[in-house]
C-alpha cells in the first residue's frame, strides 16, 4: 500500500523510492477522465429522467419501503460512473497504480457529479417550462426527484446520493475478487428475485409453495425489506460456500476431450431438455405464456442464425418468412379465411407451409443472393416490407383479408390428440419446444457438414470460395431457404397460438428484434441465440409480446439499443459466442498467444528445423 500513496503526502515521502508519476490517485491524475465520466453520467441521468422511465417504473417496488425500480434506474448511472472512473487499461510494461482510498474518493466525486445532472434537472424543472420541447416526462418527475420535498432538498439529496452510490462503485475496486464476486452474486440475486416476482409467484403457486412467496413478497409487490436481507444473507453464504465451484466444474468440462466431452454434452442437453419438459407442468399461465413467446423467438432466431451467423448473409427482411408461414397456416386452417378455406388439419397445412415458404425463399433469394454486403442488406429490407404490404394490399385482400387480417384461426391439432391454442399456453410451449428441438438439430448437423463448411467459406471470402469450386449462389440460396423454413414454423405456430393474423404483426421491427437477438446472443452460436432470446424476449419482451418486466415495454427499444451498444463495446462476440466468432474478433490476441506459446514458428527460421511442439 505504501508504495502507491500519492506524492506529496507525508506517508509517501517515507516510503521506498518508487517512480511517482503513475502512482497518483484518480482524482489528481485523471481529472480529465473524471470530468468526462461525470459529464457523460450527468447527461445519461437527465436523459433517463426525462424519458419518464423513473416515474413509470416507480410503481414496481424492488424492496418494499426503500427502493423502487424507478429509483433503481437512476442509481445505476452514478454507480457505474463511480466504478468506471477507476478503471485502467493494463498494458504489459506500464506501471499500474494499486487500488486505494482514492478509488472511493474518485468514485464519490464522479458519482456526485453524475447525479448532479438530476440536481440540475430539478432546478430547471422548478424554474422553467420544459414542457414545450420535451414531452415525455410527467409532472410527477419533480416530486419524485425531490422525494416530496422542496427543490433545494432535491439538489442536495441527489448530490449526496450520487456521492454515496459512486463511492460504493469505487469501493468495488478495493474488494478482492472473491468478495467482489460474492457482492455481485448478492446484488443479482436480490434484484433478480425482486424483478422476477410474477414468475416466482406463478411457479410457487404451481408447486404449492404460496406460503413461501407470501412471506417473501409484500402484499402489493416487491420484496419485504426483511426478506431482502434474508435473501442477501443466503446468497452471500451460498456464494462464499460455493465460491469457484461452478467455475471449477466448467473448467473441468472444458478440458474434456473426445468421447468424454460428447457424453457430458449429451448429459447436459438431456438434463436441460428434461427440465424444460417438466417445468411447465408446475408453472401457471403466465410462465408458460412467457416460455412460449421466448420459444417462438428462439425458433426465429435459430433460422436467422443460419442465414446471418453461418452463411454471413445479412438479412434484414427475415420477418417476411415469419409472415408467409403465419398467413399460409391461417389460410389453410381457418374456416373464416376469405377466399380459400380448405380447413386442413394443422399438421397437413404445415407441409404446405414448408413448401410455400421454401418457394418464397427461393423467389426472394434468387435475385437478392447475387448481391453482397450492404446492397444485399438493403434489398432484403425492401423485400421484407414488400411481403407485408402485399398482405395489406387491396389486390390480395380477397385472399388474405387486407388490414382485417384473418381471424378465428383454430388451434393446431396434433393427430387429433390435442389441440394447441393460445388459451392453453402450456401446450403451445410444448409444441414450440418440439420445433425448437428440430431447429437446433438441423443447425447443429448442418454446421458440421460439407454444406456448413461451404457456408463458412462463403462468409470468410466469397471470391476465393468460388475459386475453390463452391457454387456460392446455390449454397447461399440454400442457407436462405433453410432459414426461411425454420422461420415459417414459428409463423405457423404463432397464427395458431394467437388465433388471428394481421399485416401489422409483421412490421420491420420484428426483423430488427430477431437480428438483435442473434447479435446479442452470439452470431453462429446455438446456445447464444437461445440465451439471447431468453434475456431480450423473456425479460424485456418482444415487439408485441410482454416480457417479465412488462412495465419496461415502453422503453424496450431504448434498452435494446443501449444493450446493443454496450455489447458491441464490451463483448462484440455476443453473450455466449461460438468459438469461431470470437476467434474472428480476437484474431490479433489469439495470434499473439499462439506466438507466445511458440506455436508459430519464426518466419525467418529454417523451415525444416522449426519443429512443432508435440501435442
Amino acid at each position: 500500500m505504501t508504495a502507491v500513496m500519492p506524492p506529496g503526502t507525508a506517508t509517501a515521502a517515507a516510503a521506498a523510492p518508487v517512480p511517482p508519476a503513475p502512482t497518483r490517485p484518480v482524482l489528481a491524475r485523471d481529472w480529465r477522465r473524471l470530468a468526462r465520466m461525470a459529464a457523460v453520467g450527468a447527461v445519461a441521468q437527465i436523459f433517463i429522467a426525462l424519458s419518464n422511465m423513473p416515474v413509470r417504473l416507480d410503481e414496481r417496488v424492488v424492496v418494499k419501503p426503500v427502493l423502487s425500480l424507478g429509483y433503481l434506474t437512476l442509481l445505476i448511472v452514478p454507480f457505474a460512473a463511480g466504478h468506471r472512473v477507476g478503471h485502467q487499461i493494463k498494458r504489459e510494461g506500464t506501471p499500474v497504480h494499486a487500488a486505494g482510498a482514492h478509488e472511493v474518493a474518485g468514485g464519490a466525486a464522479c458519482g456526485a457529479l453524475a447525479a448532479g445532472g438530476l440536481s440540475l434537472l430539478a432546478v430547471l424543472l422548478a424554474n422553467f417550462d420544459l414542457r414545450e420541447p420535451l414531452v415525455n416526462w410527467s409532472p410527477m418527475l419533480a416530486e419524485l426527484l425531490a422525494f416530496g420535498n422542496s427543490t433545494s432538498f432535491a439538489v442536495v439529496i441527489w448530490l449526496l446520493i450520487g456521492a454515496a452510490v459512486g463511492a460504493s462503485g469505487g469501493l468495488m475496486r478495493l474488494l478482492g475478487p472473491r468478495t467482489r464476486r460474492a457482492a455481485v452474486t448478492i446484488a443479482i440475486t436480490v434484484a433478480g428475485v425482486a424483478v422476477m416476482e410474477p414468475l416466482v409467484v406463478d411457479l410457487a403457486e404451481g408447486m404449492g409453495l404460496e406460503a413461501l412467496t407470501d412471506r417473501l413478497y409484500a402484499r402489493r409487490g416487491g420484496l419485504e425489506w426483511v426478506s431482502a436481507l434474508v435473501l442477501a444473507a443466503v446468497a452471500g453464504i451460498l456464494a462464499v460456500l460455493g465460491r469457484g465451484r461452478l467455475r471449477e466444474a466448467r473448467n473441468r468440462i472444458a478440458v474434456q476431450e473426445g468421447a468424454k466431452r460428447t457424453r457430458t454434452n449429451f448429459g447436459l442437453i438431456l438434463l436441460t431438455g428434461a427440465a424444460l419438459v417438466i417445468l411447465p407442468l408446475f408453472a401457471g399461465k403466465l410462465t408458460n405464456e412467457l416460455l412460449a413467446n421466448v420459444g417462438l423467438f428462439v425458433l426465429l432466431a435459430l433460422g436467422l442464425n443460419i442465414v446471418v451467423g453461418l452463411a454471413g448473409i445479412l438479412d434484414l427482411g427475415y420477418v417476411a418468412f415469419f409472415a408467409v408461414g403465419s398467413y399460409t397456416a391461417a389460410v389453410l386452417t381457418a374456416a373464416t379465411s376469405p377466399r380459400i378455406h380448405p380447413e386442413m388439419p394443422w399438421l397437413v397445412a404445415l407441409i404446405f407451409v414448408v413448401v410455400i415458404t421454401g418457394l418464397v425463399g427461393l423467389f426472394i433469394g434468387a435475385p437478392v443472393i447475387r448481391m453482397r454486403g450492404d446492397y444485399l442488406a438493403i434489398v432484403t429490407l425492401g423485400f421484407g416490407e414488400i411481403i407485408r404490404l402485399l398482405f395489406l394490399s387491396d389486390w390480395l385482400s380477397g385472399t388474405f383479408g387486407g388490414s382485417q387480417g384473418i381471424t378465428k384461426i383454430p388451434g393446431a391439432g396434433i393427430f387429433g390428440l390435442t389441440s394447441v391454442a393460445g388459451t392453453d399456453p402450456r401446450r403451445v410451449f410444448y409444441l414450440v419446444l418440439a420445433f425448437c428441438a428440430i431447429a437446433i438439430y438441423v443447425s447443429w448437423r448442418l454446421e458440421r457438414s460439407r454444406l456448413g463448411r461451404a457456408w463458412m467459406a462463403v462468409r470468410e471470402d466469397e471470391t476465393v470460395a468460388e475459386a475453390m469450386g463452391i457454387n456460392t449462389v446455390n449454397v447461399k440460396l440454400l442457407a436462405f431457404v433453410v432459414g426461411a423454413i425454420l422461420g415459417s414454423f414459428s409463423g405457423a405456430i404463432f397464427s395458431a397460438k394467437v388465433g388471428s393474423v394481421f399485416p401489422n404483426s409483421f412490421l420491420i421491427l420484428v426483423s430488427i428484434v430477431i437480428l438483435v437477438v442473434v447479435i446479442f446472443g452470439g452470431m453462429g452460436s446455438i446456445v447464444g441465440v437461445i440465451a439471447g432470446s431468453a434475456v431480450l424476449i423473456g425479460v424485456l419482451g418482444g415487439p408485441k409480446q410482454p416480457g417479465l418486466l412488462a412495465e419496461f415495454s415502453e422503453f424496450k427499444l431504448l434498452i435494446y439499443g443501449a444493450l446493443l451498444i454496450w455489447m458491441m463495446l464490451a463483448r462484440p462476440e455476443g453473450l455466449i459466442p461460438s468459438v469461431r466468432r470470437s476467434r474472428e474478433l480476437h484474431q490479433e490476441e489469439m495470434a499473439q498467444d499462439a506466438w507466445l506459446k511458440g506455436q508459430v514458428e519464426d518466419d525467418t527460421a529454417n523451415g525444416d528445423t522449426a519443429t512443432a511442439p508435440a501435442t
Partner: protein, 270 residues
C-alpha cells in the same frame, strides 16, 4: 532440365487462343496464345503489370474476356462460372495469400473438396452411412494432402485457425487447398514471394514433386529467376499483355527483347 517441349501429336491440356482482356482502354492481355501440356511446368514471367495475374484470372473466369477463347482438355471454358472451371480441373493460389483465415487448417483443405463431393443437406440431417463415409473420406484425403508438406501442417496444427500460421505455412496451405480440388492443372501465383532463400529452395523442390508425384500440370508466375530456372520446362515471357518470348530458360534469358523489356532501351550517352 528434361525439356518436354510441346510435341505436336498430343493435344494440349490448356490452350488459349487470341486471349484478350481489356480494362477500359488498357489491353491487359492482347491476343495471347498459350499452350500447356499434360505433366508440364510452365513459368510465366514478365515485368510488373505485364498481365500475368490477369492471365490467371482470365483462365479461372474471375475476369471477363473481351476476345479469344480458352480451351481445357479440348472443351471451351467460355461462359463458365469460376466454380465450374475449378470443377473442370483447374485450381489456383493467390498472389496475396487468401486463406479462409478463421477456419482451421484441416477445414480449409476439407472445404476445397466441395466440388468433388456429393453429400447434401439430406445426408447431413439424417446422418446416413453414405454421409459418414464421405466425411471420413474428405478428412482422410485432407490429411493425406497436408502430409505432403512434411510435419508442418500436421498434428495439432489441424485444428488451429489458419491465421495463426506463419507466412510460409500460409503459402503452403494455399497450395494444399488447391491440391484438394483434385485438379489437373494448378496455377501458382508467385508461390515463393516473401519467403527466405531456404524456404524458397524447398518450395521449388515441392513444385517439382507436385508434378512428379501427383501428376499435375503447373503454371507458375514467378519473379525469382533461380526458381524459374530450377522448375520450368518452358518459360513464357509477357510484356504489355503480349507474349514476347517463349522457350527454355537459357533461350529466353538470352533473348534481347526480354532483356529490353526488363531493363529498358539502351540510350546513347555521349
Amino acid at each position: 532440365m528434361t525439356a518436354t517441349t510441346a510435341s505436336a501429336v498430343t493435344r494440349p491440356l490448356l490452350e488459349t487462343r487470341k486471349l484478350s482482356v481489356d480494362f477500359g482502354g488498357l489491353h491487359a492481355l492482347d491476343q495471347l496464345d498459350l499452350e500447356v501440356h499434360e505433366g508440364e511446368i510452365v513459368s510465366v514471367i514478365g515485368p510488373n503489370g505485364a498481365g500475368k495475374t490477369t492471365l490467371f484470372n482470365a483462365i479461372t473466369a474471375t475476369v471477363a474476356l473481351s476476345d479469344g477463347d480458352i480451351c481445357f482438355e479440348g472443351a471451351s471454358l467460355l461462359g463458365l462460372d469460376p466454380n465450374r472451371v475449378t470443377a473442370r480441373g483447374i485450381a489456383r493460389t493467390f498472389q496475396n495469400v487468401r486463406l479462409f483465415a478463421n477456419m482451421t487448417v484441416l477445414e480449409n483443405v476439407m472445404v476445397s473438396q466441395h466440388c468433388r463431393t456429393r453429400q447434401h443437406a439430406f445426408g447431413a440431417l439424417f446422418y446416413t452411412p453414405s454421409f459418414r463415409r464421405e466425411e471420413a473420406e474428405i478428412r482422410e484425403r485432407a490429411e493425406k494432402i497436408l502430409s505432403f508438406f512434411g510435419s508442418r501442417l500436421m498434428g495439432y496444427r489441424f485444428d488451429q485457425p489458419a491465421f495463426t500460421l506463419s507466412y510460409a505455412n500460409r503459402r503452403r496451405l494455399e497450395i494444399a487447398r488447391a491440391m484438394a480440388t483434385q485438379p489437373k492443372l494448378i496455377l501458382l501465383d508467385e508461390p515463393v514471394a516473401g519467403m527466405n532463400p531456404v524456404e524458397s529452395a524447398e518450395l521449388t523442390g515441392l513444385i517439382g514433386r507436385l508434378r512428379d508425384e501427383w501428376g499435375f500440370a503447373i503454371v507458375v508466375i514467378e519473379h525469382h529467376m533461380d526458381v524459374v530456372r530450377e522448375v520450368s520446362d518452358r518459360v513464357v515471357v509477357l510484356d504489355h499483355g503480349t507474349k514476347i518470348a517463349e522457350g527454355d530458360y537459357e533461350e529466353v534469358s538470352n533473348d534481347p527483347t526480354v532483356i529490353e523489356a526488363y531493363l529498358g532501351h539502351g540510350t546513347e550517352t555521349t
